[in-house]
């Protein structure tokens, strides 16, 4: 088989371009035999490595040279997915129905009744299942372009194999996609047979289980893989990464900016916009030239799980981003209020999304502003903007130095015009609510 591959590479004139991936197994030392670029890889992983190589150098010709254990056992996921992605590589799958390199254990392609060191009584369907027909399995996928099974059982078959090898490489050269040639091969040493007898066993026994022939040939209709587009220049990379947006010169304003140290906890149900609220606060603080950090806690549920985040806004660099003892608590639901109220620092500020704090939830040493923010936002057309209403109340009650930056941050973060309008209205409504509460 080595000779067939080498002849094909030579005949097609691709020796300089070809890279051979030789995984652990019967093909592991292939690099000794081929004067081409060689990469030796872990057992079963050749199609994955081939993917990495081919994507790096699409002009190269990448051959994945695999045995039956490598491809059909440990590497079954890699071959399936490389074939399914239609990677423009060529796989030569040498099927000798046994694990040769390790001394003769059973392979996924070992025949029923065939003895091996790990099937000493002969492969048994009830324990080991049937041999796998790799070409047929891959034929169930959309992407592969060329799949053929050949054998080395006599001269005619050997010449047929030579043609298949060449054809598969041509598929890759033309950029059509994934090609695989399964080669039924004798293994006289491990089968403990004379070489000519082993060859005959391939001819007579193996071909009964693994029918020869072209399993798929879509070379006529397969489209040529589009060439990769020109990469952007180095100067364009910052724009690609969204790094050139100018958020304006940061400015701090208001008294207390120099010594501000806010440790904010925002908490509620998943879906109430807890994280977004925290993000807006952090962005506003950053826009005002302050140090900020934002840290989410999360449950695995996407909706209705608990959600809270820690936000720190300070004049000096922030050490721990975690807030265990907040001086501002934004509780968007009752469970959050109950959970975090005890931890609030004395003289802290609590905003609660409810008409009033529950009677057993009282901290006389903190300021509490309770208002039905969700209902307010609902009245404005979007209950989900309850978080922004609460934000408005916070800005009104806390006299923070990043007050002016908030509308700009909302404009940047909220993509939908409809929601932006609701948010800005909710912000104002929240401020009003805070004024009313404070004046009580």
């Amino acid at each position: 088989m080595h000779k067939l591959v080498a002849e094909a590479i030579d005949g097609l004139g691709i020796q300089d371009r070809t890279i051979l991936i030789s995984p652990v197994g019967c093909s592991v030392f292939a690099y000794y035999y081929f004067d081409i670029g060689n990469v030796q890889v872990a057992h079963g992983r050749a199609p994955a490595v081939a993917t990495g190589v081919k994507r790096a150098h699409p002009q190269s010709i990448v051959i994945s040279y695999q045995g039956d254990g490598d491809l059909a056992a440990i590497g079954s996921a890699e071959i399936l997915h490389a074939a399914n992605r239609g990677e423009n590589i060529t796989v030569f799958f040498v099927n000798n129905a046994i694990y040769g390199m390790t001394g003769g254990q059973m392979a996924p392609t070992t025949l029923i009744g065939q003895k091996s060191t790990t099937s000493p009584f002969g492969r048994n369907f009830w324990n080991e299942g049937n041999p796998i027909k790799v070409c047929e399995v891959l034929n169930a996928l959309d992407a592969p372009v060329y799949l053929e099974r050949v054998a080395l059982g006599n001269n005619k078959q050997i010449m047929g194999a030579a043609r298949a090898v060449k054809r598969a490489l041509e598929v890759q050269m033309r950029g059509l996609g994934f090609s695989l040639v399964e080669v039924l091969s004798p293994c006289p040493t491990i089968w403990k047979m004379e070489p000519v007898a082993a060859q005959r066993w391939v001819l007579e026994e193996m071909t009964k289980n693994f029918p020869l022939g072209v399993v798929r040939d879509r070379t006529k209709e397969a489209p040529v893989r589009p060439a990769p587009s020109e990469p952007p220049s180095l100067a364009e990379i910052p724009r690609v990464l969204g790094l050139t947006r100018d958020s304006g010169a940061p400015e701090a304003d208001g008294a207390g900016g120099a010594s501000i140290e806010l440790a904010i906890k925002v908490a509620g149900f998943g879906g109430q916009g807890v994280l977004l609220l925290g993000e807006v606060l952090a962005e506003a603080g950053l826009a005002a030239g302050l140090q900020v950090s934002w840290l989410p806690s999360y449950g695995p549920e996407m909706r209705s799980g608990t959600s809270n985040c820690h936000v720190r806004i300070a004049a000096k660099p922030i050490a721990s981003p975690l807030v265990a003892r907040p001086n501002v608590l934004l509780a968007l639901n009752e469970p959050s209020l109950r959970k975090f109220l005890p931890a609030v620092e004395p003289q802290g500020l609590v905003l609660y999304n409810g008409t009033a704090c529950p009677p057993d939830c009282v901290r006389p040493d903190v300021t509490v502003i309770a208002a039905p923010f969700t209902e307010m936002a609902d009245a404005l057309g979007g209950a989900r903007a309850g978080n922004v209403a609460m934000l408005g109340a916070l800005l009104e009650a806390a006299h923070v130095p990043f007050d002016r930056q908030v509308p700009g941050v909302l404009r940047r973060l909220v993509r939908s015009q409809k929601w932006l309008d609701i948010d800005l209205a909710a912000l104002a409504r929240g401020r009003e609510a805070a004024r009313q509460e404070v004046s009580k």
Binding site: D16, V39, Q40, A56, I237
Partner: protein
């Protein structure tokens, strides 16, 4: 200077692309999925490759292929995924291939949970794959470092022809902080040893097989020389107030952030506490800290940088005690002291904080004999 508020996980990808990485192969896993998602968005636009692999096993091998081909490539995962990649690490190190892998650690072992934990210290720093190898390990403690250390990781990977791990936890990965991003760097050309499908590289072979035991031993010694060189030249750490410290907190990642606050408040109370934060977990930074006098029992008189070492910013090899922090909050019981916007400061230590300090102290004492023996604990 323009700063962007960005998540740690996303900063890794932007940093990688700025460093010239143009290939990402990975599999989703909480809390690292944002890295794959950001790569899926930005890599193709930057002219690079993104493929969602079928598993972490496949991902690390795709990285192996890209690295063999001379391309800067990376992947990211969390503990369970890194476990799957261990064979890949061994092959990458054995074949002397550069690459960067980010591990955003979560609760373990087993499925554990998706909450942050510094659970992969042993797997990553002591190397969970087979054979004698090391990976350089960088441990960011801020989102800025997620960017900067990822960029550094690519340089170190190329310098040592070895995998480099950026070891963060779920907190650092998920949190948002402002980042000043540096200039974009050009994609470096493929190294001369890479296999690129050209006449010049036809003779190249990427392999980790050395059949003859003598030859393999020579190869392993060669790898060892590389690691020794890294220990000489690439140690990075941050030390705060250790010169006169009675207690030094050794920590990395999110724990270091929390303990920085502890140092501040402890010092405010008159306790002489310092902090050593290794930035490279391998090569180890612990060797820079030496106790000042020998200790037989009980109270330590003083500790800190050994005379003469104070000016050193790099340590030599010898390992020293680069101790892992236990899972973040459990044993230290830290709570934070904050000042409110109105300026009042809480001065009474909370019970939890006192307990945390006590456990720090006893932990230090238990380990203190380990300092003197100077043998690496790993």
């Amino acid at each position: 200077m323009h700063k962007e508020l960005i998540k740690g996980n996303e900063a890794i990808v932007k940093g990688a692309i700025l460093a010239g990485c143009r290939a990402y192969y990975g599999y989703p896993i909480t809390p690292a999925s944002e890295i794959a998602e950001a790569a899926a968005l930005y890599m193709p636009q930057a002219g690079g490759v993104f493929v969602q692999a079928e598993s972490e096993v496949a991902a690390i091998n795709m990285i192996y292929g890209a690295a063999s081909a001379g391309v800067r490539s990376m992947t990211a995962s969390s503990g369970p995924g890194l476990s799957l990649m261990q064979e890949g690490f061994s092959y990458l190190a054995g074949s002397e291939l550069p690459c960067v892998v980010a591990d955003i650690m979560r609760g373990g072992p087993g499925l554990g949970n998706i909450a942050p934990e510094q659970s992969d210290y042993h797997q990553i720093v002591k190397c969970g794959g087979h054979g004698n190898y090391r990976t350089v390990v960088l441990a960011p403690d801020s989102v800025q470092e997620m960017c900067d250390l990822t960029m550094l990781a690519f340089d170190l990977a190329d310098r040592y022809r070895n995998p480099v791990v950026v070891l963060a936890d779920g907190f650092i990965g998920q949190m948002m902080e402002p980042v000043a991003f540096p200039e974009a760097r050009a994609v470096p050309p493929a190294p001369a040893w890479a296999v690129t499908g050209t006449r010049e590289t036809r003779a190249n072979l990427v392999t980790s097989i050395y059949l003859e035991p003598d030859v393999l031993e020579a190869h392993v010694r060669k790898l060892e020389e590389k690691y020794k060189r890294a220990e000489q030249e690439s140690v990075r750490f941050e030390a705060r107030e250790v010169e006169d410290a009675d207690i030094v907190l050794v920590c990395y990642g999110i724990v270091a952030r929390v303990l920085k606050e502890v140092v501040e408040s402890a010092r405010a109370e008159g306790l002489r506490v310092g902090l050593l934060r290794p930035v490279t977990l391998y090569p180890p930074a612990g060797g820079i800290l030496q106790p000042r006098g020998r200790q037989r029992t009980g109270q330590r008189r003083g500790s800190g940088l050994r005379p003469g070492r104070a000016s050193q910013t790099r340590s030599t090899a010898g390992g020293g005690a680069c101790l892992s922090s236990p899972s973040y909050m459990g044993s230290l019981g830290v709570s934070t002291i904050t000042t409110s916007a109105r300026g009042s400061c809480s001065t009474r230590p909370t019970t939890a904080r006192a307990a945390g300090m006590a456990s720090c102290t006893s932990w230090w004492r238990r380990r203190s004999t380990g300092w003197e023996s100077r043998t690496a604990p790993f």
